[in-house]
């Protein structure tokens, strides 16, 4: 990849949607209203596992102000089939439909059983209370161990384990068992001088986005619906609602609102099909907004896990073999991110002998959804802890030990493909050279290092770049902006067109105004949607060159595009005055018509992102409290289009990981009801818990992207779990095998050690 000199990419303009966001004008999911609007509320199962014998909605319907009531019976017979998603996951529409509204069985506390649309949310809530459900309560399965036990209650009578033999036979809670590997594991371990095997447990945790799910749906007399919702994927909402409701995708238009956080938790549907159905039945627009409690109880947290990792190394630091068994909770329906966990668990390292096994297990908890690098943080916790222990056993510096084994270009990844240019070594080296790594530590303080990897996705995106008569450009894409991506789209278009970024208007459009685009997620927007924007902008540039060629009456190849101007070249140098974009745009109608560039592509060659994090903690030996003193995140971004937003991803992901390590966990009671469905007792980090998060962006360009871009959004959450626990280990001298390492747990470990 040639060293291109960028004029705009790499700068830090103010984001185009920023003004609306700092003044409160930006409209998020719950900020929309329509005349005649009704409010929708959901009746949710009070049982974690129960059969629905019957539902009587008559008293609800009789309540003044109620306009519609729906239950599972209002949905078409379960949609069939499934669709592969990105990153090793897939959506089963039968399960999705049942998750959105229970069919015959409630599988978690909070599972929707019915929904009501009424003239006020208070009336809708009251109506829900009047719906009578005849339950047959069943014993709930609330942990992996319980799900796997002999004679465990079975969630799905028809579930049979799929995957790689040996497979359990008969009714089971194991949705799948997969295995992958290569080489000779036994020989590998035999060749090792040190072998360490450890087991880890992590709890179910939630993405914790501050904006609850919200939707406003209106269905016309012709059966066509318009849906305003905060989502990571308007086309996904359209497709999923169509499947669940048994209607054509052409009957649903989805308008993505601004979105107040997603992190993967808004890559599926919960309220949207309900609002559409209610609006159809009531003949009026229906607005539904989740309460915070509903968000925690009944959306998609990520899996609690049980992971065992065994690694062997020689005295000189070379890893010889690695083995992992990952058992992940899927929640009420199959589909945990265990596959991604399997693929990422050893991905940063060179390993000839490796065996990885993964189990996808259902339990009576909400169905898990993607959470930023889904499946990877839990796996990395295990690997990076064992790596740290191996380093100590070998008397090696933890970064040096990783450098000996770090994957690089040409290495065959443990999950299959050969790495092209990657920046893991560079991130390790930058971490080692950082002043943080050399800073002295005081009593009860410790420093932890950990690495992380995420594949990043490509998938499909569309982009239009329209030139306006005044020489400004409108860039239209279909990927919601959850972290500042609009600014990056504008920068890339501005770079190609050669105009200032302030003259580019980036727009996130609805499903009728732009071609198909896969959702915002998988760290793919700057990479793949950006690729489409670049291609569309180049399409515009080619059209501009053609207009100049026509104006000058020369061949197309006699026109070059330089810094926003058409310049005569290739034999025609100096014969014509350059034409600026503004000039050409101003006379577009006269030279052939309006100029619009477009691209629709499936992006290949997403570059993996590697990171190395350093964390210093101080522990209070008398209370078990852990304080994060200093944190540095180093990551390979390939090419940072807007460095401030790359830094923001690194900082935000690191802090989510810190919360996961220290305090976050779902606490269920014996009956399967969540005891902490609120921000009071589901403890995400607050401002006073943290120091500044220093960031170092390393750039090893991705050879498969025109600018070298790699996705950056997910990798940052992968290292911090082990960075924190390795730091605690070194500060306290105790091994952390279970998250969160909350004060009572650390105190108990300290007690046991003394």
């Amino acid at each position: 990849m040639s060293e291109r000199k960028f004029r705009q990419v790499g700068t830090r303009p103010i984001r185009h949607d920023g003004l609306d966001k700092v003044t409160g004008r930006a409209q998020f999911g719950a900020d929309y209203s329509l005349p005649g609007m009704l409010w929708g509320k959901v009746l949710r199962s009070p049982h974690a596992h129960a059969r629905i014998r019957s539902i009587d909605v008559s008293k609800a319907l009789a309540l003044d102000g109620v306009h519609a009531v729906i239950t599972g019976a209002d949905f078409p017979a379960a949609a069939a089939g499934s669709e592969a998603g990105g990153e090793g996951g897939a959506t089963d529409f039968h399960d999705l439909g049942a998750n959105v509204m229970a069919r015959g069985k409630a599988l978690y506390h909070g599972h929707p059983v019915a929904a009501v649309a009424a003239t006020s949310s208070r009336i809708a809530e009251e109506a829900c209370k009047r719906i009578a459900v005849d339950w047959q309560v069943l014993p709930p399965v609330l942990s992996l161990d319980a799900a796997l036990a002999k004679d465990a209650p079975i969630l799905h009578d028809d579930m049979r384990t799929t995957g790689d033999e040996p497979l359990p036979k008969g009714p089971t809670n194991v949705a799948s068992r997969r295995e992958m590997g290569r080489g000779d594991l036994a020989a590998g371990f035999a060749a090792a001088d040190v072998v360490i095997e450890r087991e880890f447990r992590t709890p179910m945790v939630h993405q914790g986005y501050i904006e609850p799910h919200a939707v406003l749906a209106r269905t016309g007399e012709d059966g066509r619906s318009v849906v305003f919702c905060c989502t990571q994927g308007p086309f996904m909402v359209r497709a999923y609602c169509a499947k669940v409701l048994g209607v054509g995708t052409d009957t649903i238009k989805v308008v993505p609102t601004e979105i107040g956080g997603g992190f993967g938790g808004k890559t599926t549907v919960y309220l949207e099909p309900l609002a559409i159905l209610l609006s159809r039945k009531a003949g009026r627009p229906v607005k539904m907004v989740m309460t915070r409690e509903e968000v925690f109880r009944a959306t998609g947290p990520t899996s609690g896990t049980h992971v065992r990792v065994k690694m062997g190394a020689k005295r000189d630091g070379t890893l010889t073999a690695a083995e992992a068994v990952l058992v992940y909770e899927a929640g009420a329906f199959k589909g945990s991110p265990v596959n991604a966990g399997m693929m990422t668990v050893f991905a940063p390292y060179k390993l000839a002998n490796v065996r990885i096994e993964g189990w996808d297990v259902v339990v009576n908890k909400p169905k898990v959804a993607a959470y930023r690098a889904p499946g990877a943080p839990m796996a990395a916790l295990a690997t990076e802890t064992v790596m740290d222990e191996l380093a100590r056993a070998l008397g090696m510096d933890p970064i040096d030990f990783r450098l000996v084994n770090a994957a690089h270009e040409g290495v065959q990844a443990t999950y299959g493909p050969k790495y092209r240019a990657i920046g893991f070594v560079e991130s390790l080296q930058a971490a080692k050279a950082h002043p943080h790594y050399r800073a002295p530590l005081g009593p009860n303080q410790g420093r932890g290092v950990a690495a992380g990897f995420w594949f990043n996705a490509g998938l499909s995106s569309s982009a239009n770049v329209a030139l306006n008569e005044d020489g400004s450009a409108t860039v239209v894409t279909g990927c919601p902006d959850i972290g500042g991506s609009r600014a990056s789209m504008a920068l890339m278009a501005a770079e190609e067109l050669g105009i200032p970024v302030e003259q580019v208007r980036p727009v996130v459009a609805d499903t009728e105004s732009i071609g198909y685009s896969d959702l915002t997620g998988g760290s793919r927007v700057t990479f793949a949607t950006g690729m489409a924007v670049i291609e569309a902008a180049r399409d515009v540039v080619n059209q501009l060159r053609a207009r100049a060629a026509k104006t000058w009456d020369v061949e197309l190849d006699a026109v070059a595009w330089q810094d926003g101007r058409a310049v005569a070249t290739n034999g025609a140098e100096g014969k014509h005055e350059p034409l600026t974009l503004k000039q050409l745009a101003g006379r577009a109608s006269a030279t052939g018509g309006p100029i619009t560039g477009r691209a629709s592509l499936t992006a290949r060659g997403a570059g993996p992102g590697f990171a190395t994090h350093i964390c210093d903690v101080e522990i209070d030996r008398e209370t078990g409290a852990v304080k994060v003193l200093r944190y540095t995140a180093v990551q390979d971004a390939g090419r940072a289009v807007h460095p401030s937003y790359v830094e923001g991803q690194m900082q935000g992901g690191a802090v989510q990981g810190i919360g996961w390590a220290l305090n976050e966990e779902y606490v269920f009671d014996a009956k399967g009801a969540l005891e902490n469905p609120g921000f009071l007792d589901y403890r995400i980090p607050v401002a006073s818990d943290l120091p500044m998060i220093d960031t170092v962006i390393v750039e090893v360009p991705n050879p498969m992207h025109p600018y070298g871009v790699r996705g950056v959004g997910e990798t940052p959450i992968v290292p911090p779990l082990a960075a924190v626990t390795n730091a605690v280990q070194r500060a306290a001298g105790v091994a952390v095998r279970e998250l969160p390492i909350s004060p009572p747990k650390l105190l108990a470990l300290l007690d046991a050690a003394s």
Binding site: R122, I123, E126, T291, E622, T623, G624, A625, K627, L662, N663, V667, E675, N676, F679, L680, D681, R683, P685, V686, S688, D689, S742, P743, P744, L747, A748
Partner: protein, 291 residues
């Protein structure tokens, strides 16, 4: 569905009248009441907003005592340099109630009336010997603050009675207090354990009186007389502090819940009592130097 009513009386008498009505609830800061309404735990039929009643809204330092109206928001207490100088521990405790936004509304009076075992100000109020002034249909009565909560969510208030405010005696010279709370994060959590300590010293620095109170380790605040006794006669040496800590741990009768185990709370009660006592001694000595 019947609509609730909102009333904002400007006299104590009118408030007492309104509180006699069915489903009437006092509304001060609302930071507990509205949360309970959302969860369905409370269903007020009449909101009696007491913030316009002069006695409840007043914060006034008199010659012998501080009058702290029951509806004064925490932020007003925290901002008062005078109160912070004389009762730093009480102000510490008040400053720990929730966030800045919560403190803009939440009142110490409301905190006490909510009677959560984990209320931050209760141990601090006990330590400084606060008295609760209540008024109701049968007139006024006064009880020491440690007798006010009778169980989780329950107080000595009878039907139609409300808490008017606190009378907190001025501390003597060379006296001070401290309050510490243990929470898993640095802010925003309900106390897992709270410890309030007040000590008074003589001219030679020897402790002549002490109060130690613990929160979140029993259904109501625990006044640990043995811990106080361990401090009296000492100069805050390690042995005395350790004895006070041990007495505090012994006196704790905590439960295990999602915020902490009983074992853990007992342990940390001792640690916090010791640390709060250390701070109280240091402040009392400094007071003596400047008083």
């Amino acid at each position: 569905m019947e609509q609730a009513r909102y009333e904002a009386p400007s006299s104590l008498g009118r408030a007492i009248e309104l509180l006699g009505q069915p489903g009437a609830r006092v509304l001060a800061g609302g930071t507990d009441l509205l949360v309970q309404m959302r969860s369905g735990r409370a269903v007020p039929r009449v909101f009696v907003d007491v913030k316009r009643i002069p006695e409840l809204a007043r914060l006034e330092l008199g010659r012998d005592e501080l009058w702290l109206g029951a509806a004064v928001p925490a932020a007003a207490i925290v901002e008062s340099a005078e109160v912070a100088r004389l009762w730093p521990g009480l102000v510490e405790a008040t400053d720990l109630i929730g966030s800045t936004q919560i403190q803009g509304r939440a009142s110490v009076g409301g905190n006490l009336c909510n009677a959560s075992p984990a209320a931050d100000t209760t141990p601090a109020l006990c330590a400084v010997g606060a008295l609760c002034v209540m008024a109701g249909p049968n007139g006024e009565r006064v009880v020491p603050v440690e007798r006010f909560p009778t169980g989780p969510g329950a107080t000595v208030l009878g039907p139609g009675e409300l808490l008017v405010g606190f009378r907190i005696p001025r501390p003597p010279a060379r006296a001070s207090d401290a309050y510490l709370r243990f929470i898993p994060r640095t802010e925003m959590d309900i106390a897992v354990v709270g410890a309030g300590v007040a000590v008074a010293l003589d001219a030679s620095g020897r402790c002549t009186s002490a109060r130690v109170a613990l929160g979140a380790v029993a259904p109501t605040v625990v006044v640990v007389t043995e811990a106080a006794a361990a401090l009296v006669g000492s100069r805050g040496e390690a042995a005395a502090l350790a004895a006070a800590a041990e007495a505090a741990s012994r006196a704790a009768r905590p439960i295990s819940d999602k915020r902490g185990t009983a074992e853990y709370r007992r342990r940390v009660a001792g640690v916090l009592a010791r640390r709060a006592a250390t701070a109280a001694f240091e402040r009392a000595r400094a007071h003596g130097a400047t008083a």
